[in-house]
């Protein structure tokens, strides 16, 4: 039995990448395969350029689940309803969607709990073309999708700037190497196999407890194949980045010698909504030492950097929805500075990994 969620995630990726036509084709396929797939209808509404198609998709979603908030909000926007409570919204929708509520006995599929991508979809629906509004709207209108994109990039850059205050390389160095976290996120794939980080001293902006250490960085390879282990897909698939650099924290020194940041991406295909196990990713060096993720520092980095969506998409403890999109996580490892040939592995799959760094210093 084909897993429609995989194709839903594919369509979501396309939508995020701005490829609305491809997303429309995928969501349309899903609605034809299963006309009761409410997620597909909602996403189809979100990527439709034609108001009639958008309306039809929302009406179908509401037909499947008359209480669905997103469908109600989307139709409210299309109908130009001003604010109002649920009853007034439903009444307004009733007036414009003939016989929608006249049908009886149809199975109702409850919507899934609000998830991350549903929030994204909500934003899409709330940004329904402003020219469709009639008269005054008592609710502030959100930025357009393009503005969301621009704002997102600005936040990303700002977040990275803040995060860089705590990292062992300055933003100037990052610009020089062309291998910064932000660059990688913006460019999609890091294509440079090896990079020498300049050895000039970064300018400390906080009270560091560890002297920044110049390192040789080998970015993860760009092999266009994700690895899998225990139902988790992870690693290198566009847009994937696994940038590496040392980090330092205001109040904590590493026990082994250096904190290392490795940004990975992961998708949950385990069949169950769950966070990725904290011990899933490990680094291993030629000295035979294995390093687990330092969860506390990983979470601290996320907070320092500005939260979810800035340094990385999610926190390591966040639930990943089965069949959802790839999500990035910036992981912190506490490693020895004499480590050589540091390799990243996922789960029980130790036959496939990535060379992270040949040397640390």
């Amino acid at each position: 039995m084909a897993d429609a969620n995989e194709i839903l995630a594919l369509g979501m990726d396309a939508a995020r990448d701005g490829n609305r036509e491809e997303a429309r084709n995928l969501f349309t396929l899903l609605t034809r395969q299963d006309p009761d797939n409410i997620q597909a209808w909602l996403w189809l509404a979100g990527v439709s350029d034609d108001p009639r198609q958008r309306r039809a998709a929302l009406e179908r979603a509401l037909e499947i689940d008359p209480q669905n908030d997103m469908a109600l909000r989307g139709l409210r926007a299309l109908n130009g309803v001003q604010g109002g409570d649920r009853r007034s919204i439903v009444e307004a929708v009733k007036q414009t969607t003939s016989n929608l509520f006249g049908r009886r006995g149809r199975p109702v599929r409850p919507s899934r709990p609000l998830s991350q991508y549903e929030e994204e979809l909500t934003r899409e629906l709330e940004s329904v073309d402003s020219h469709l509004y009639d008269g005054e709207d008592d609710e502030p209108r959100g930025p357009s999708p393009v503005m969301w994109g621009i704002l997102g990039v600005l936040v990303l850059v700002l977040g990275y700037f803040l995060a860089s205050q705590f990292m062992g390389t300055s933003s100037e160095e990052s610009a020089d190497t062309g291998g910064s976290l932000t660059d990688g996120l913006l460019n999609g794939i890091i294509s440079t196999p090896t990079l020498e980080v300049p050895t000039s001293e970064p300018v400390p902006t906080t009270e560091p407890t560890m002297a920044p250490t110049p390192i040789t960085v080998v970015l993860l390879n760009t092999e266009n194949t994700a690895k899998t282990a225990e139902g988790w897909e992870y690693g290198v698939r566009s847009p994937v980045i696994a940038g590496v650099r040392t980090a330092r924290f205001p109040n904590t020194a590493p026990q082994n010698g250096a904190y290392y940041v490795v940004v990975v991406v992961v998708r949950n295909s385990t069949g169950t909504d769950q966070p990725i196990p904290a011990d899933f990713f490990v680094l291993q060096d030629d000295q035979g030492r294995t390093y687990n993720v330092n969860v506390e520092r990983t979470q601290e980095l996320l907070n320092i950097g500005g939260g979810r969506g800035v340094v990385s998409d999610i926190d390591i403890g966040d639930v990943l929805y089965n069949g959802g999109a790839l999500q990035s996580i910036a992981l912190i490892f506490d490693i020895h500075t004499d480590s050589t040939n540091l390799r990243l592995y996922g789960g029980s799959n130790r036959s496939e990994g990535w060379l992270i760094a040949e040397t640390v210093q």
Binding site: D3, L26, L29, R32, T225
Partner: protein, 72 residues
């Protein structure tokens, strides 16, 4: 004449195939085979990513049958 949506979806499948993402190619084509059961190329492409020889034979037989029908 092939449906333009089907054409676009086959292009997506082809791209995923080029990327080596065979699992999603299979998933996409399996769903496409339900929606477009008379599209020869859906079945021939599905044969390329079949789990085993039996599946591959079945898909190719289906494609061959459709092809014969089209030229009858």
């Amino acid at each position: 004449m092939r449906n333009s949506e089907c054409e676009a979806l086959l292009k997506i499948a082809n791209r995923l195939y080029q990327q080596g993402d065979y699992r999603r190619v299979r998933t996409l084509l399996e769903i496409m085979s339900e929606v477009y059961p008379r599209e020869v190329q859906v079945w021939t492409t599905l044969a390329m990513v079949a789990h085993n020889d039996n599946e591959k034979t079945e898909y190719l037989a289906r494609a061959s049958h459709l092809q014969r029908q089209a030229h009858a």
